[in-house]
């Protein structure tokens, strides 16, 4: 049994202190230690993007990061975006544009897009395609996702 490390992680605005094995992946930590199961694991080798979360505001593959590396940092997951009765504009946009089907890859897309839309408030469809080219969706063919992002940009630009 390996030695346990103490970590302090601020996640979705709440501070979590835990003792964990150093080899525990951040994705497993979020899903099983913190019971935040919105972040999904699709491949564990950094290709599909389903596990994307924000660490200090930047998108990161949580399957390629150890939880101990996040200690002292701020993590945002999809649970930090909104609630079913109080959706974030990007979540509303995905709903209205039918930007999801099975929903498994969706949290990863949303977290990738939050920093993207911050930097690119008026993206073209090509800009969006490139921004999401690191996230795999097997259900939608991406078209409604791109529609959703354009709609989200509109919603988020309103004062």
């Amino acid at each position: 049994m390996e030695d346990l490390f103490n970590v302090s992680i601020l996640c979705n605005g709440k501070m979590y202190e835990r003792s964990i094995e150093p080899r525990l992946l951040l994705s497993d930590f979020l899903r099983h230690e913190l019971d935040l199961t919105g972040t999904h694991v699709g491949c564990e080798h950094g290709v599909c993007g389903a596990c994307t979360v924000l660490v200090d505001g930047l998108p990161v593959r949580s399957c390629l990061m150890f939880a101990v590396q996040a200690s002292g940092h701020e993590v945002t997951t999809v649970e930090g975006l909104g609630e079913p009765d109080n959706l974030h504009p990007i979540q509303e946009a995905f709903w209205e544009a039918h930007g999801l089907q099975c929903g498994f890859c969706t949290p990863g897309f949303l977290m990738t897009l939050i920093p993207f839309l911050k930097e690119n408030p008026k993206p073209t469809r090509e800009d969006i395609r490139t921004a999401i080219s690191g996230n795999i969706c097997r259900c939608t063919g991406y078209q409604h996702i791109i529609d959703a992002v354009q709609l989200a940009a509109q919603k988020m630009s309103k004062p």
Binding site: G38, Q91, E96, C102, T106
Partner: protein, 779 residues
Amino acid sequence: MTKKYLGKPITRNEDPQLLTGQALFVDDVDLPDMLHAAFLRSDYAHAHLKSIDISAALEKPGVVAVYTADSMGDDWAPGPPLVSPPPTVKDVVFNSRRQVPLVKDKIRHVGEAIAVVIAENRYIAEDAAEDILVDLEPLEAVVDLEAALKPDCILIHDDLESNLAAQLVQNKGDYQAAREKADLIIKKHFVIERGAAAAMENRGIVADWDVKSQHLTVWDTTQAPIPIRNGLAARYGLSERQVRVIAPFIGGAFGPKMMMFYPEELVIPWAAIKLGRPVKWIEDRRENFYATTQERIQIHEAEIALTSEGRVLGISDQFLHDTGAYDPYGLTIPLNTQSHLLGVYDIPNFTSEIKVVFTNKVISTPVRGAGRPQGVYAIERLLDMAAKELGMDKVEIRKLNFIPPDAFPYEQNYIDQAFAPLIFDSGNYLPAIEKAAELIGYEQFLKVDQPRYRSEGRHVGIGIVAFPETTGVGPYEGARITIEPSGKVSVATGVGTQGQGHFTTFAQIVADQVGVNPRDVNLVTGDTAEFHWGTGTFASRGAVVAANAIHASAKAVRKKILEHASKHLGAPEGELEIEDGQVRVADIPRMSISLGELAELANPLRGAVEPGTEPGLEATAYFGPQYGATAFGVHSMILEVDVETMTVDILRYVVVEDCGTVLNPLILEGQIHGGISMGIGNSYYEKLVYDDNGQLLNASLADYLIPMATEMPYIEIEHQETPSPLNPLGSKGVGEAGAIPVPALFAQALENALSDYDLEIRETPLSPNRLYELLTSKG
């Protein structure tokens, strides 16, 4: 009764949960005292298993148990057959060999499960699995289909005489006679390679045996919870009541999650019963490439016989189908291929022989398209080649051969995958191809745009193909609808949902009949405790079979509502209308009662329920179609090839689809987009590569290339509605339609773009490498 909701692009009921990460997928299930499983899988494709030493694994702290085939004792048995051989065709060869829970004596594909470790967490379980020592004697692996059938080839199933799993010949008319009358005969060899479904969610199972209540609950990423429940109950000597199988939200399926009684589905519940603690197994991505089923290869020797005017007299196709190490799905995929070998065309003569071959590869079971793309590939390619020989336009040759609209129902006179005579129920192909050609600017492209591109040195080409899709097969589905005292409506049906939007389309059907808002319809799918009669979600049948069961049940509830309301309001049923949850007398709005109140009244605390009636406002109904409805479509694309990098850019993509009555256009388009992305994958990017030793060489998403947003075109869809006469809603399935024509379309467009190279494409998928090889071998 007006269609207020059906056919409208209503946003989905299930999205808020999914968007906020609050939807339950199997890996989200967390039970107290839960254990975790990891499987030890074979590194060899073909080997005798001599002994297994689990002692080192057992000693690892945190390991609770290690099981092998021997541990299972009498509970060890191969999975049950999922389909039987076709009874109505004579001279069928059918050797049914199914997958086993854990290898007993022979390993037949890389990744086959040899042992399972149950531990306190997955990390420990995987570590311990590596400590298991396996002694085996490697054998030569059988990989090539043609070599597998040679008499001196090593046998994969030693009790058989050869590696032939099944053989079947089907005939229509007299192909030999037709051939003799033909002016032109073209014979070609086509190869369609292996591909995976690669859903974003890998498979998983959580099994919980409650000793005190003697009840087994299983969460499973399956498309078929009801057959799984029935099978597990039978296998472990339980009553069906003692087993509950739940398919919660599922992260995509596309076919392989319909495969039933995977080794893990046999082992994990067994382990949970044995240990008396819940056990969870979640597949990782690499495992998915070995442990979840895939589809194909098929090798076709196809021939077309035509008149000099381009009229097709007959089609002949002898093909080999690779089933992998076992064949639980029998002839399903190749029968689907046969059903589509004549395309949407009126071809009077046909002969086709299927040979299903065992190989030392992962089991092949239906993946989106399920054999249909292969049939369409053959016929559309042959037509293209015939058109070229005869100097005919590709659209013209198709139009000339279409089944005319007055010929329906069109009997094909051979059988389909449901073992019933293949009949196309309805269709109207001519307007579809004309519309597609118009939308993409077919004439304009060939006459004006393409010559201009050529003069600029650009290789841009156009393709257009037509295809049928058999959908909506039985046997049946059912649904139960209940009006609750709150006025909300609760619905239960047996099919599962893996992203198709059932929670919404089905709600729309109910809402129209019962007079509520779809948002007030709460649906449960895929939970055997809620509804336990049905088969599953597969073969593009949800929108046909389940939807019509829901429709029938909703109509029955509506009838009860009107009966009760009529009594209560003292008005004849004919004068009543239901809207926004209220039943009222038309023209006298103050004479009304809410559905909720009516539901309470229908469930009396005093008094009696009259004989021949039932309490409450609830109805259960079933629907089983006579045979499957045939949808169809036309796809067209313009693509550009860079002859230096061999990369392909799709400039335009047009679809005209006809799936009968449209239930929800938003969801429909999503299905088509998704299907096309898999079709594009199967055309240029996705190929599972096995080496001569049966080793899968690209078992990761880094090497198995799934189309990303940058590979996808903007898809323009036009709808046509030729309702099906086979069901009250007039609907047909569409789940696989997007994927079916794409490889054939891609080949045609590429050849057109590279016409200065005189290229003939007879395989799929291609790739930049492969295209380069084909072009340079031309010199």
